[in-house]
């Protein structure tokens, strides 16, 4: 797990995961999109609390390695000001078979998004800007079920 302030280079990261015993490789990248919930987005600003983002990210990778037989797994998250089309987060997983690679890659990005102390501020075309809420809060609204998700995260930690 790494944080970086310079552009993520997926090809270099992929290179590090090459493994003669791996038959399946799955990579996820989060790209800065030009639109969110109807607003035109110009750029995003990511803030992270690095010491804990790294330890929590390592914990997530360890959980994935424990849950599936993986050969390689890694994650890099960028911070600072990002323009449309830039890569904010990269996850790469190599495993003997694709089932595990897909499942673990999905698990890692899902957990990274809700557990790492990372925040993003969207800067809109109309001059406004705003901190983006927890993805699940936004998706589910502030339901009792969702509060339970947060409570569960807290307990797991």
């Amino acid at each position: 797990m790494q944080l970086c302030t310079v552009p993520i280079r997926p090809d270099d990261l992929r290179e590090r995961l090459l493994d003669p015993a791996a038959g399946g490789y799955v990579a996820f990248e989060g790209w800065i999109r030009n639109e969110n919930e109807g607003h035109t987005v110009l750029r995003l600003e990511y803030e992270a609390y690095e010491p804990l983002a790294v330890t929590e990210g390592e914990r997530i990778l360890a959980e994935a390695r424990k849950r599936w037989p993986l050969r390689q797994a890694a994650c890099v998250h960028r911070t600072g000001l990002l323009e449309i089309g830039e890569c904010a987060v990269w996850v790469g997983v190599a495993a003997a078979h694709r089932d595990e690679a897909f499942a673990a890659c999905r698990y890692i990005i899902d957990q990274v998004k809700v557990r790492l102390p990372i925040w993003k501020k969207e800067h809109y075309a109309d001059g406004h800007s705003g901190w983006v809420n927890c993805e699940r809060c936004a998706e589910h609204g502030d339901t009792a079920q969702h509060q339970a998700v947060h409570a569960e995260q807290k307990v797991r930690q």
Partner: protein
């Protein structure tokens, strides 16, 4: 009993507080007490259930006891990726 607690704010919380860090003398037992006191102080409306807390760089439960001299990190809802 009053404790000296250093509080660090991130993202929206930092903007609300107008500062990234402050050290306060507070009568608090747990991380939850710290959160409640500072919500009153800075007028944030974020429900605690969406936030996280770390004490001295370790993620913690809201019921964790805070001690004199601790650094409490208050994390608003995270949104990585």
């Amino acid at each position: 009993m009053s404790k000296n607690i250093t509080v660090r704010y991130f993202a929206a919380f930092r903007e609300h507080a107008g500062t990234g860090e402050e050290t306060l003398a507070m009568s608090v037992a747990t991380a939850r007490d710290v959160f409640d006191k500072l919500r009153d102080r800075h007028g944030s409306s974020e429900p605690l259930g969406h936030c996280k807390v770390a004490i001295n760089d370790e993620l913690a439960d809201w019921d964790t006891t805070v001690n004199d001299g601790d650094t409490v990190l208050l994390f608003p809802p995270v949104a990585g990726g």
